[in-house]
């Protein structure tokens, strides 16, 4: 079954065709990776899918509905949640508070209920807190619950960001370079975490430069070059694909 379908999507910035007539599907329950040299349009594509940019043409279908015209918060509330290449944790908030923000779409208290501190908000707050601790336990960061999130080590900040996204209970998790800036051990742990997230039933689409990570955890890989798809296949086949090798390593002659 297809969870996300990108159909003929294009995006131009002035004279630069960042994404050009791109199509691919993401199957429910799979891990799909987007790779390509720098400037291939991977992050632009992520921004298009998650509603941070509008495509010039084409459709993005998520869970059976066209989402290309929706603002990012609506797409998130439909169950597609992203992380950022440059970590975007909320400063001046603890790890716990950061993850609690992730429960936003699964809670209801509005301005009036919040100001009046209505009893139903107490129960809701307790549930938000419990769920957030569950997620921190899953990620092994309970010890840091009360620490200001942006004061943690870089690798742990990435884990918190993934935890914040998981708190939304997404159907589709978009990870923008989850291993960027991580050392080898942390990268391995991140790979294990992503596999576990998939096993929990969350579909994952990731952009990543670390090839060993991509090849190890992905079910399928899409290769972009200059905004176009040049290959889409299983990891092993991608490694043997002549066009992919040419794009990454250059021609023989």
């Amino acid at each position: 079954m297809t969870l996300l379908s990108v159909r003929g999507v294009s995006k131009r910035f002035g004279g630069l065709q960042a994404v050009n007539d791109l199509s691919f599907d993401v199957a429910t329950g799979s891990i799909k990776a987007l790779i390509g040299p720098n400037g291939a349009g991977k992050t632009t594509l992520f921004n298009l899918i998650s509603g941070f940019l509008r495509p010039d043409c084409g459709e993005i279908v998520f869970g059976g509905a066209e989402v290309q015209a929706m603002p990012s918060f609506q797409i998130a509330s439909r169950g597609m949640v992203r992380t950022f290449q440059h970590i975007r944790l909320f400063p001046k908030m603890t790890v716990l508070e950061n993850i609690m923000v992730g429960r936003h779409v699964h809670s209801n208290a509005g301005f009036l209920a919040g100001m009046l501190n209505l009893p139903f908000t107490w129960r809701e707050e307790r549930r938000i807190r419990e769920k957030s601790f569950e997620i921190m336990e899953l990620l092994g960061i309970v010890a840091h619950a009360g620490t200001e999130a942006i004061s943690l080590a870089y690798g742990q900040q990435r884990v918190v960001e993934v935890g914040r996204a998981l708190a939304c209970e997404p159907k589709l998790l978009l990870l923008d370079e989850p291993a960027a800036g991580l050392n080898m051990r942390e990268t391995n742990e991140m790979g294990g975490l992503i596999s576990r997230i998939r096993d929990m039933g969350v579909t994952v689409l990731l952009v990543e430069h670390d090839m060993s990570l991509v090849m190890k955890i992905s079910d399928e890989v899409v290769v972009l070059s200059y905004g176009q798809k040049i290959a889409e296949d299983r990891p092993l086949a991608i490694q043997k694909n002549r066009e992919v090798i040419r794009v990454y390593l250059g021609d023989d002659e």
Binding site: V101, G114, M115, I128
Partner: protein, 357 residues
């Protein structure tokens, strides 16, 4: 949660202590300025919510204060006897009007203060929504400039409008009757009750805002403040949240405008002036930005000193200088949340020791 209400109760204790202090020292006349301070504090805690917690600046809140004050003043002083008609008689029959006499014994028929208050708040909400929608798409100093523009427009409108009294403003505004025989008025006989009414309103406002910042919405606003794009990616409708908190703070300002106008018995265009807006922002800044208690305590001290005339002709200068110094040397505000731990780190001989487990 208990801590939150304990602080509110402690503040209420302070308010009582101040009143008792004036009682025993025979300085009850201070209560007049303290009551006015309370109403200005209402503007400031609302603005603190907008600036400190949601991260959106407004240099136009004196405008919203003036909208509240002027609508209340106009409706409760405009003699409808001079404008008879179907609409007026309909209002009269529904009990929305009051007949009273002016200082010279002439008979007046004016809108009831309660209805005027509701009208003032509704108009403020409408205007805040209309201007907030487009303006809050801006960020940083662009937002500051745009809200400054709103403030100036409102100031020029009240200054140039004949029926709002132009440069003289509106005077002879009646008291605001409340249940249990209480009335918001500047009469010396009800000085103490008005002092408690005004600060009671501030305490109520503080309780509501403290609840809000510790709620789901408060977290969402802090998230918008910290990383707006990431907040959107977490499903928070950032534009709507910014607009709502803008309107909320405008309502706080307008409510203060309504009540202070009834208390003072009038309002003039200076209440809408740019320097008033600057003053509000300066007090929020020196209070520590994201610190409701800091803003409230600074408001209590500075507004009181200003109203008692301690700053003399340098009144506006003082607040301008405060804003300048804060922005230069303590952009996070003077009374910020981690002030104590920051101080400790500053005096500790080896900063690394603090980090060790």
């Amino acid at each position: 949660m208990a801590r939150r209400y304990f602080a509110v109760a402690a503040f209420a204790g302070l308010i009582v202590a101040i009143q008792l202090g004036t009682l025993f020292t025979g300085t009850g006349y201070y209560l007049t300025q303290l009551t006015m301070t309370a109403y200005y504090s209402l503007v400031i805690v609302g603005l603190c919510m907008l600036i400190g917690y949601a991260g959106q600046i407004s240099l136009g809140h004196a405008g919203f204060f003036a909208i509240g004050g002027y609508v209340a003043a106009f409706l409760t002083t405009c003699n409808l006897k001079l404008h008879p008609g179907v609409f007026v008689s309909l209002l009269s029959k529904s009990g929305a009007l009051v007949a009273r006499h002016d200082a010279y014994g002439g008979s007046l028929l004016t809108v009831h203060p309660w209805l005027a208050c509701v009208a003032a708040i509704l108009l403020t909400i409408v205007i805040a929504y209309l201007v907030g929608g487009p303006v809050l798409k801006l960020k940083g100093h662009y937002l500051a400039m745009a809200t400054l523009g709103i403030g100036i427009i409102i100031y020029r409108i009240v200054l140039g409008t004949e029926f709002l009294g132009a440069a003289d403003g509106i005077s002879d505004v009646p008291g605001f009757p409340l249940p249990a025989g209480l009335i918001i008025t500047g009469d010396a006989s009800s000085r103490i009750s008005n002092y408690y009414l005004a600060w009671g309103l501030v305490i109520l406002g503080m309780a509501l805002l403290l609840n809000l910042i510790h709620s789901r919405v408060g977290r969402a606003l802090a998230a918008v403040h910290g990383a707006e794009d990431a907040a959107g990616a977490m499903g928070i409708p950032t534009a709507r949240y910014k607009l709502n908190v803008f309107v909320l703070s405008a309502v706080f300002a307008a409510l203060a405008g309504v009540f202070l106008t009834h208390y003072n018995g009038g309002i003039g265009p200076s209440e809408a002036g740019v320097m008033k807006s600057v003053r509000y922002v300066a007090i929020v800044a020196i209070g520590g930005m994201a610190n409701l208690w800091g803003a409230l305590s600074m408001s209590l001290v500075l507004n009181y000193l200003s109203l008692r005339g301690y700053f003399g002709t340098y009144d506006d200068t003082v607040f301008g200088v405060i804003l300048l110094l804060i922005m230069l040397f303590a952009p996070d505000g003077l009374l910020r949340r981690h002030l104590l731990s920051d101080l400790k780190r500053a005096v500790s001989p080896n900063p690394a020791e603090e980090e060790a487990p």
